[in-house]
Every structure is written in structure tokens, then in C-alpha cells.
């Protein structure tokens, strides 16, 4: 048998040199313009690890404080800020961004592509994350960090009980960071569906692709409720709109519902990608393909769906109808099924394989023990009578750390050892890592195993001090000692990784002999990943397609030749993986950075009550985004292009389901979830809040809402008309101008109804939430007009033609959505009082 092909020794082709130049990031300040997914992915990972260290140090302070009763080390204010920030940092600034970084870095490499669908979007997300994180971090050093708990329950977090800037920092900082989560969600759904290797049908996709597809979809529908909640609470704090204040018709539990509507899926958003990494590693070490691929896919989808039906189990003690308690209790236990399926699929794969005992397997053993125990205590907590005892005690603290460290940190520690050779080009080293594992494993269990008991013997969470003599002293002391061992273990782990990266030997190619595409790349990978995009015919192509690595590196495959300095990758049919377009990727751009910075002006302006500055920031960010969009597309029609191997494909701006079209669809899904959450809030207040009915309902001649609705419907119709004319090669100018005008008129219609027909929004939650709904519709109608005007300019500049109708179709989606929410909202606003009036 000849020696396996090693791409590191192969000579570069001229096309590879061009690809290297095209995909490179400029040096110096030019780094701010980076959009390459490998660069952005690594930045996400490094930044999230920095926040992990910060969050860990905060945890050490908490454990030091609780080491003994009545400890004077931290006062209540410091403790409350630190525990709030520990949770906030670990959830929003460590766990989610680390997942984002891993997916951004790896997904194109797993799926056989050169970059993501929207490289600039993930660069924008990165800057939003860094700027938002910086706001939160700065508050910690200035001593004004959020202090109402990471769950920010109202009314504690409201202006009356937390008058300082602390809560505003949380609401605005976290929302800024969430922009990056939304960007990620859109990016990854579209990338996984559209940007894969030829022949990689959904059923051949590496499991991590499935996990990320579901995770990204969950982020798309999971984050909007929290963003809505944050916007509403910030408006209550800034302008006195009483959404959550009982005295003026609000309800504090609305916040809790919106928070946990996000908060529970959040747990699975963190767990699933880590489980996806496990599903990638297990086959490699078991030396056989995964058992139960279809079961796993079904389990992942089921987890995603079920996770949205469980949020109430965080609220079993708030006073919930008895039947709802039973239903949510049963649903919470049901989620054990897809989780158990995953574990048994992994076990079955190991049982039926010939497992090799390498270091990552040791960490996977940590996953098995720690997460299974965390999952089982989760089942315990799903039982309402037990929950009523254990809720908000240290039992829950122990449970959630078992789940998150077992289900997220341990898998990723394994993943770090597993994929580091690919990223760094350095050989795996396994000795120090074993020491680190045992320190982490023992330290973790010493900290948290007995903490279950701490809770059961009555110690509540989030207390900065406790009285001696309640039987909590030694339990807390042991936990504190364990946490120091745990920290030493983490320090050793990171030290080991740094040593490998900076002082390790060069690794052999594919050191673990894995079967998935990323291991076909050089270690570290070239900035364009694949020199040629090869067709894939198996789930483990490196095991099943001999000669594949050579083909890739010798340029035998699709898009191996460069032309016009285009950065090309393949777009495929979402289901079958059949190539259907050539996607032209953007090069480095400062616009993501600038747009994020301007958005930062909005957030900081709002934070300090400078609302004009904030408005300026928002407007400037919109302009920057439109300027960014101007770079899309091509100023003339192109014929189909040779993709290599005898295949000829259209460019993405000339096909129906271009990534941009999918991006708008997923973006509207985000928006629609936000809107449905808003409707939920509207009806929830109406049905449940004490302090209703309000003094009066909307009072305006029905003529005005009817005219406004007409403007919105006509706006959508004129956009469709513009599409019809555009694809016929006729001028859409008149239709677009009409849509612009209708957008402005419709906006005026909404403003008029809010200003004339309603009492001032500070008077009652009804007026506040109705004004908000009208404002939401008004903003959408306005944007329809703005977009129509923008595409009019694009048409004049030659970017729109019969073949290049993408932009017309994309704004039409927006206009249809706008018209839809307008009709629903106006129907609700004007219909509900009338209906109820007739009923009484």
C-alpha cells in the first residue's frame, strides 16, 4: 500500500495562488474589513473564550463569598452585580458566541464550501457582539453593572426599583449582542440549505450540519421574544410606557413569559451544537459510521420543536393554572426522549465499532457522566411538587451547571483537542490534557454534586450571605474548594492548548483518520478552504471516496479555475444538493464594521438618554446598510458560466432562489416571530393583566384605519406590479415610485391614528401596547417605501433587469409582509374593542 496523499507536500497550482489572494484579509487596519469566515470564526472563538475567563473569575468571586456564613468579602451590591453578570456573560457573551464562532468557522469546511452565504453579515454580527459585550464589560468595571439577575424580572428591574443605569445596560447591551445572534441565525439557515458540496443531499450532510440548521432556526424564532421584551422594558424605563407595571394596567408576568419563551430554547441552542460536535467525533473514534443517523436527525428536530413548549417549567411557582402545570410538566419530561435517543445512538456506535482510546474520548466520557446526571435532575425538576421545593434553590444551580458543563463545556473541550490540529496545523498532544481532564472532572463534581444537597437542605439561590447554624456551612466550603480545583484544571487546559499551538510539532494530515470533508483540507486550511469543489457521494467521503483528497488539491472538481477575480462557491438545491448556481462572494469591506459602529451610536445614545443622537445613529446605520447592499449584484447580465466538469451554471443574482431571497425569507421569519410575540403580549395583557379595562379604547373615525390599510395593500400590489414589469424587461419605475409614495402615506396614516385616536401611552398599558403596535406597522410601511425608492435608484444604475429581478422580488416579500401585519394589527386594534363592546 502506498503512503497516503499528503496535501502539505503537494505543489500549489496557479489558480490556488489567485484564490489565496482573493480570499485574503488585508493587513494592518485592513483587518477591520475582514469578512472571511475562517477569520471571523476564529475571532468569535477567541473573544468568547476571553469572556469565559471573565465569567469564570466572576464565579470564583461568588464562591469565595459563599465559602463561609456572614462573609464580609463582598457586599450585597457587589455580589448582586457579579452573579447577574456571571450568568449574563456565560450565556450571552460566552456560550452563544462560541457556538457561533465554531459554526462560522467549520460549517463551510464540513459542507465543502469556500465561505458562508453572507460573509459580511457574520462580520457585522461579530462587531455587534464585541461592541455590545464591551458595553456590558465596561459597566462591570465602573461598578454599574446590571444587578437584577440575568433573568431581569420586573418590577425589580424596572425604573421604580432599579432607578440607576444598571438595567438599561443589560437591556441595551444584551439586545446589541442579540443582533449578532439573529445575523447568525439567518446566515446559518441559508448557508446550510444552499451552500454545500455538489451531491451533498440533506441525507448525506454531516450531522453537525443538521444540528446547526436546527440551532440556527431556533435562534431565528427564539431570540425575537426576548428582544421584544427588552424593547418593551426599555421603553417602560425610558419613557414610562407601563407594559409591566400593575398600577397602570401592565403585568410583570408578561416579562417572565417573554423571557422564558426565549430562555428555555436558549438551553437547547447551547446544548445542540455541542451534541453535534459529539456526533462528529464519536464515529471517528469508534472507527465506523454513526448508528441511527435518521434517528438523530429526528431527535434534533424534535428537541428544537419541543423546546418551545417548555418555557413554563421555569415558572411553575408563579401561579399557573393547574392543568397547564400538568401539561408543561409532562412536556418537560418528554424532552428526555430525543436526548436519550442521542445518547443511545452514541453508545450503540461505540458498541458496534472498535473504539480507540484517545484523549477526546476521555472528555466524551465526561459528557456521558455529567450530562446524564444533569438531564436526570432535569426530569426531577419537571415534576411539579418536587419543583416547588427545589425551585430557586442551590439544587437548580447544581442542575443547570451539570447540564451546561456536561452538555456544552465538556463536549467542546473534547472538540478543542479534536479539531485543534486542523486549525493550528500542530500535532495533538495528550499527556497534559489528561491531567487537565481529571482536575476539571473532579473539581466540577466536588463543586456541584453536593450542591444538590445544599439546595435540598434549604439554601435559596442568589443570596449574598447566610446565617450560621442552618447546616449549610460545610457544603458551601466544599463547593468553594472544588471550584478552585476546577479553575486550576481549566487553566491547565488552556495552557496545554497554547503550548500546542505555539510549540507543537507539525501534525500529520488527518491525524485521527476521520471521514468528513474538513479533514481533506491542509492543516491549517487555506483561506479559500477547497481548491476544487468535489462532488460528494457519501456521509464519510474520506472513508468512502478514495482519491478525493488528491482531487481537491490538484484542482479536479468544480470551480477550480479562477476568472474575473471572482470569489466563487457553489449554490445547491436545498434538498438534493444538486448544483444550481454559482455564488459570487464579497471581498473585504469596512461597511459591516461601520454599520455596527453606527448601531453602537444608537445603543449608547439611548443608554445615556440622548435620543436625538440615538435616532441619528439608527438612521445612519440604515444608510450604511443600504450602501452595503449597493455592492450586491452585477451591473449587467451574464450568460451561464462554466463551473468545470462540463457543468454550466447561472450566477446567483440571476436565479430565483438566490441566497439573498432566502435571507429575506428567514429575516421575515425573525420579524414575524417578533410580531407574534407582540400579539401574544397584546392579548395577554388584555386577558390576564390586573387593572383592566382601561378608561377608554381607541377613538377615531374608521375611515382612517381603512385608508391606511388600503395604502399598505396597494403598496404591496404596486411592488408585485413592479416585479411583473421587471421580469418582462419593462420599466418598473412608475410602480416603484407609487410604492414609495404609498409607503409614506401609509406611515402618516399610522402616525395619525396613534397621535389622534389614543390616550397618551404613559397613561395605561392598553394605550402603550396599542401605540407600539401602530408604531411597528408604521415603521414597516415606511421601510417598504424606502426600499421601493432604493430599488428605483438601483434600476436607474442598471442593477435590475429581466434576468436580474432578485431585488424587486426581495422587496416585494417585505411589502407583502408589511401589508399582512397592517391588516392583522388594524383588525385587532379596531375590532377587539368593538367585539368586546358588543359582548358586554
Amino acid at each position: 500500500m502506498s503512503a497516503p496523499f499528503d496535501p502539505h507536500t503537494a505543489a500549489q497550482t496557479p489558480d490556488q495562488a489567485v484564490l489565496t489572494r482573493l480570499f485574503s484579509t488585508p493587513p494592518g487596519w485592513g483587518r477591520l474589513s475582514a469578512v472571511n469566515h475562517s477569520v471571523i470564526g476564529i475571532r468569535f472563538i477567541v473573544a468568547s473564550l476571553v469572556f469565559f475567563v471573565i465569567g469564570g473569575l466572576l464565579a470564583m468571586l461568588l464562591r469565595a463569598q459563599l465559602a463561609m456564613p456572614g462573609n464580609p468579602f463582598l457586599d450585597h451590591e457587589a455580589y448582586n452585580q457579579i452573579f447577574t453578570m456571571h450568568g449574563t456573560v456565560m450565556m450571552f457573551l460566552f456560550a452563544i458566541p462560541l457556538i457561533e464562532g465554531l459554526a462560522l468557522y467549520f460549517i463551510p469546511k464540513f459542507l465543502g464550501a469556500r465561505d458562508l452565504a453572507f460573509p459580511r453579515l457574520s462580520a457585522f454580527g461579530f462587531w455587534c457582539y464585541v461592541f455590545g459585550g464591551a458595553i456590558l464589560l465596561a459597566s462591570l468595571f465602573l461598578g454599574v453593572a446590571p444587578n437584577a439577575g440575568w433573568f431581569m424580572y420586573t418590577p425589580l428591574s424596572s425604573g421604580e426599583y432599579t432607578p440607576g443605569i444598571n438595567s438599561d445596560i443589560w437591556l441595551l447591551g444584551v439586545t446589541f449582542v442579540e443582533v449578532s445572534a439573529i445575523a447568525f441565525g439567518i446566515e446559518l439557515v441559508v448557508t446550510v440549505l444552499k451552500v454545500r458540496a455538489a451531491g451533498m443531499s440533506l441525507s448525506r450532510m454531516p450531522l453537525f450540519g443538521w444540528y446547526i440548521l436546527v440551532t440556527a432556526a431556533m435562534m431565528v424564532v427564539g431570540f425575537p421574544p426576548l428582544i421584544l421584551g427588552s424593547v418593551l422594558l426599555e421603553m417602560e424605563r425610558a419613557f414610562g410606557w407601563p407594559f409591566f407595571e400593575v398600577a397602570r394596567g401592565g403585568d410583570p408576568l408578561l416579562w417572565a413569559h417573554l423571557f422564558w419563551l426565549f430562555g428555555h430554547p436558549e438551553v437547547y441552542i447551547i446544548f445542540l451544537p455541542a451534541a453535534g460536535a459529539v456526533s462528529m467525533m464519536i464515529p471517528t473514534f469508534a472507527r465506523r459510521p454513526i448508528i441511527g443517523y435518521t434517528w438523530l436527525v429526528a431527535a434534533v428536530i424534535a428537541t428544537g420543536v419541543l423546546s418551545f413548549g417548555l418555557w413554563v417549567h421555569h415558572m411553575f411557582t408563579v401561579g399557573i393554572p393547574h392543568l397547564a402545570l400538568l401539561l408543561f410538566s409532562a412536556a418537560s419530561m418528554l424532552v428526555a426522549v430525543p436526548t436519550a435517543i442521542q445518547f443511545f445512538a452514541w453508545l450503540a456506535t461505540l458498541w458496534h465499532g472498535r473504539p480507540v482510546r484517545r484523549l477526546p474520548m476521555l472528555y466524551l466520557f465526561g459528557v456521558l457522566f455529567v450530562f446524564v446526571l444533569g438531564g436526570l435532575t432535569g426530569v426531577m425538576l419537571a415534576l411539579v411538587p418536587f419543583n416547588w421545593q427545589a425551585h430557586d434553590t442551590h439544587f437548580v444551580v447544581a442542575h443547570l451547571h451539570y447540564v451546561l458543563i456536561g452538555g456544552f463545556v465538556f463536549p467542546l473541550l473534547a472538540a478543542a483537542h479534536y479539531w485543534l490540529p486542523l486549525i493550528s496545523g500542530r500535532a495533538p498532544s495528550e499527556r497534559v490534557g489528561q491531567w487537565a481532564f481529571w482536575l476539571i472532572f473532579v473539581g466540577f463534581n466536588v463543586t456541584f454534586l453536593n450542591m444538590h444537597l445544599t439546595g435540598l437542605v434549604g439554601m435559596p439561590r442568589r443570596v449574598y450571605t447566610y446565617t450560621a447554624g442552618l447546616g449549610w456551612e460545610w457544603l458551601n466550603l466544599v463547593s468553594t474548594i472544588g471550584s478552585f480545583v476546577l479553575t486550576i484544571g481549566f487553566a491547565l487546559f488552556f495552557l496545554d492548548l497554547l503550548m500546542q499551538v505555539y510549540a507543537g510539532r507539525r501534525t500529520a494530515h488527518n491525524p485521527w483518520q476521520a471521514g468528513t470533508l474538513e479533514w481533506s483540507l491542509t492543516h491549517p486550511p487555506a483561506n479559500y478552504n477547497f481548491a476544487a469543489l468535489v462532488p460528494v457521494a457519501s456521509r464519510e467521503p474520506l472513508w468512502d471516496q478514495p482519491g478525493l483528497v488528491e482531487d481537491i488539491h490538484h484542482g479536479r472538481g468544480y470551480l477550480a479555475r479562477t476568472r474575473n477575480d471572482w470569489q466563487e462557491t457553489l449554490g445547491v438545491d436545498a434538498i438534493s444538493g444538486k448544483p444550481d448556481q454559482i455564488i459570487l462572494l464579497p471581498g473585504p469591506s469596512y461597511l459591516p464594521f461601520i454599520t455596527a459602529a453606527l448601531l453602537g451610536v444608537f445603543f449608547v445614545g439611548f443608554l445615556f438618554g440622548q435620543y436625538l443622537l440615538a435616532l441619528f445613529g439608527a438612521g445612519a446605520a440604515l444608510l450604511a446598510a443600504l450602501r452595503w447592499a449597493w455592492h450586491n449584484g452585477l451591473p449587467q447580465d451574464h450568460p451561464d458560466q462554466d463551473a468545470g466538469s462540463g457543468l454550466s451554471l447561472p450566477l446567483h443574482s440571476q436565479v430565483h432562489d438566490a441566497p439573498g431571497w432566502w435571507g429575506m425569507v428567514i429575516g421575515l421569519l425573525v420579524n414575524g416571530t417578533f410580531y407574534i410575540s407582540l400579539l401574544f403580549g397584546y392579548l395577554y395583557l388584555w386577558a390576564v393583566a390586573p387593572g383592566w379595562p382601561p378608561a377608554g379604547y381607541i377613538d377615531i373615525n374608521l375611515f382612517w384605519p381603512l385608508v391606511t390599510a388600503l395604502f399598505a395593500v396597494l403598496g404591496a400590489w404596486t411592488c408585485r406590479w413592479a416585479v411583473a414589469r421587471g421580469v418582462d424587461g419593462k420599466s418598473p419605475a412608475l410602480a416603484l415610485a407609487a410604492a414609495l409614495l404609498l409607503g409614506l402615506l401609509g406611515t402618516a396614516g399610522f402616525a395619525g391614528q396613534a397621535l389622534i385616536g389614543l390616550p397618551h401611552p404613559t397613561t395605561h398599558a392598553y394605550a402603550a401596547v396599542t401605540t407600539f403596535l401602530l408604531g411597528y406597522c408604521g415603521l414597516h410601511t415606511l421601510l417598504t417605501g424606502v426600499f421601493a425608492g432604493y430599488v428605483l435608484l438601483r434600476w436607474r444604475a442598471g442593477y435590475v433587469s429581466a434576468r436580474r429581478s432578485l431585488e424587486l422580488r426581495v422587496i416585494t416579500l417585505w411589502a407583502l409582509y408589511s401589508a399582512g401585519v397592517t391588516l392583522i394589527s388594524l383588525g385587532l386594534i379596531h375590532g377587539l374593542p368593538t367585539l368586546l363592546g358588543m359582548a358586554t
Binding site: G319, L326, L376, V384, D392
Partner: protein
């Protein structure tokens, strides 16, 4: 205050379920770990003979569904015993404040008797505790008696407690409620029925209008009476101080109640429980503080 040493009906049922679930969780964790270790550390290099479909169906579907079914079968009846269903023997209103508890017993005629941070219950009787909040969300929890329920502003939640043992137990706010969430404890006194009646009668008789000296009463009226009352019939902004000298703790579980600690509390409560809502007493002379202490200690 351990849930595992119960003194109430609901807590006792839950304690049994807890032990069963703890043992079950431990068993399944060890079982799964053993399965994993065996797969990796077995001697033979050959694939193991065990149907993978069997593992997926048995372990992934049947096992979790069966365990959930058993848990619900035991858990749901227990849950129902904690709900306020059917007539209660006694009703008590509890209101959470930052950071203390107002307790509202009723006298023989059903009139309100206010007190703070001490709840009295007769043993063996079904008590419905109606819980609400005057400001932010708190949670009412007496671990030895039964589960917790949130105190939510604008709504009333009811939990049923049925003590089974006479004794003095500790309760604690369980929902984070701001600066002094840690110091929001209270005491529950479970009495024999006749002792409970005696307590109620004693509380109802509290009348301190002639307690202490005129100078002491004057000091209280001047410095305290805006927020505090010593009459159990009056509901003021701050904790009711009727029968204060009989209570076990000061400052909602901050400090044991004795003569020295009462004086420490009056002089330095902002150090003992920083940011509590009572104004700092630094401006008060030592003799005024002493007068207040003596007034609070004086027999009614």
C-alpha cells in the same frame, strides 16, 4: 430548614419522592457510564452483538417514557395535595415587601391581626396561605412544610400547608428580590391547637398605648410611628411591631432577638442589613435609642 426533614404533609410526600428520584438518578447515571466504559474498555476488539435498533428503541424511547410515566403517577397526586382544593381550616394572608414579610392572621371574629416575619399555624390543620407582594416578586417558602409559591404584585397565589409536627421552623424568600434578598427570612411556629388559640388571643389583646414611660412612648411616636405600629390592628408601611419582644429574630431573620441585639439593631441596622428601607439612625442620640428599646421591650 431542610426539605428532607419534613414537618408538613406536602413536604413529607415530596421528601419520599425526592429520595426515590435521587436513587433512580444515581442508578441511571452509573448505568449509562458503565455502558460507555464497557464499550471502550472491553477486551475483545470485535463489534459487540447487540441490536442497535434495540438500543435506540429501548433506551431512547421506552426507558424515558416509562420513567416519566411512573414519576407522573406518583407526582400528580402529591401535587394536588399542595393545591388549595376544598375547604381550608384556616386562612392567612402573606405579603412580601422589600425585605420583610407582612403576616395577616385573623382574630376570632375574622378581623385582621397584622404581624411581621412570624407565621403561626395549628398542627394538623389545613392552612391556606394567600400570597401577594407590595412591590417586586418574592417567593414564600417554608422548606419543612411544603413547596414555595411566588408573591407577585397584582395577583394572589394560594398554597396549602398542613403541618404535622409542633415546632419552630424557618422560612425564606426564594425569588431574588433585590439588595437584601438574602435577609428576608421568617419563622413559622407550629402549635397545638389550644396554644395557637392562645397565641391568637394574646396577639389580639396587644395594646401598647400605655406601655413603657410617657417619654419612651413619645420617642416611638416621634421617630417610628410614621411607618411602624405596635397595634396588631393597624397596617402601616413598615413591619408591624406588635409582640416584637416575643419574636425569635430581628430584621427578617438577620439577628437573634435579645436585649443586646435589639440595641445593636436600632443603632446599626444599616450596617447589619445595608440598604434596608428604614432610615439610618445615626442622627439619634444614645438615650433616644435606649428609650425606643425599652418601649419595645416593655410589657403591654
Amino acid at each position: 430548614m431542610s426539605t428532607l426533614v419534613p414537618a408538613g404533609q406536602a413536604a413529607r410526600d415530596v421528601a419520599w419522592i425526592t429520595w426515590a428520584m435521587v436513587i433512580g438518578s444515581g442508578f441511571f447515571t452509573l448505568l449509562m457510564t458503565a455502558l460507555g466504559l464497557h464499550a471502550v474498555y472491553r477486551r475483545s476488539d470485535r463489534p459487540m452483538r447487540m441490536s442497535s435498533r434495540g438500543m435506540l428503541i429501548g433506551g431512547g424511547l421506552v426507558l424515558p417514557l416509562a420513567v416519566s410515566g411512573v414519576l407522573l403517577a406518583f407526582g400528580v397526586p402529591t401535587g394536588y395535595s399542595m393545591l388549595s382544593i376544598g375547604e381550608a381550616d384556616i386562612e392567612i394572608r402573606v405579603t412580601g415587601h422589600q425585605w420583610w414579610w407582612q403576616i395577616e392572621h385573623a382574630d376570632a371574629e375574622g378581623q385582621s391581626l397584622y404581624t411581621a416575619n412570624e407565621l403561626h399555624l395549628p398542627v394538623g390543620q389545613r392552612a391556606d396561605i394567600h400570597i401577594t407582594s407590595a412591590d417586586v416578586i418574592h417567593a414564600f417558602w417554608v422548606p419543612v412544610l411544603g413547596g414555595k409559591l411566588d408573591a407577585v404584585p397584582g395577583s394572589v397565589n394560594t398554597i396549602r400547608l398542613q403541618p404535622t409536627r409542633v415546632g419552630v421552623y424557618r422560612g425564606q424568600c426564594a425569588e431574588f428580590c433585590g439588595a437584601q434578598h438574602a435577609r428576608m427570612g421568617f419563622e413559622v411556629h407550629v402549635h397545638e391547637s389550644e396554644d395557637f388559640e392562645a397565641f391568637r388571643a394574646a396577639l389580639a389583646r396587644q395594646d401598647r398605648t400605655l406601655a413603657g414611660t410617657p417619654q419612651q412612648r413619645q420617642a416611638f411616636a416621634e421617630h417610628c410611628a410614621q411607618c411602624h405600629s405596635t397595634s396588631p390592628r393597624e397596617d402601616r408601611l413598615g413591619p408591624n411591631l406588635a409582640r416584637l419582644s416575643e419574636r425569635g429574630w430581628l430584621g427578617a431573620g438577620t439577628l437573634r432577638n435579645d436585649a443586646d441585639n435589639l440595641r445593636r439593631w436600632l443603632a446599626t441596622h444599616q450596617t447589619l442589613k445595608p440598604d434596608n428601607r428604614m432610615p439610618d439612625h445615626a442622627s439619634l442620640d444614645a438615650d433616644v435609642l435606649e428609650a425606643l428599646a425599652r418601649f419595645l421591650e416593655a410589657a403591654p
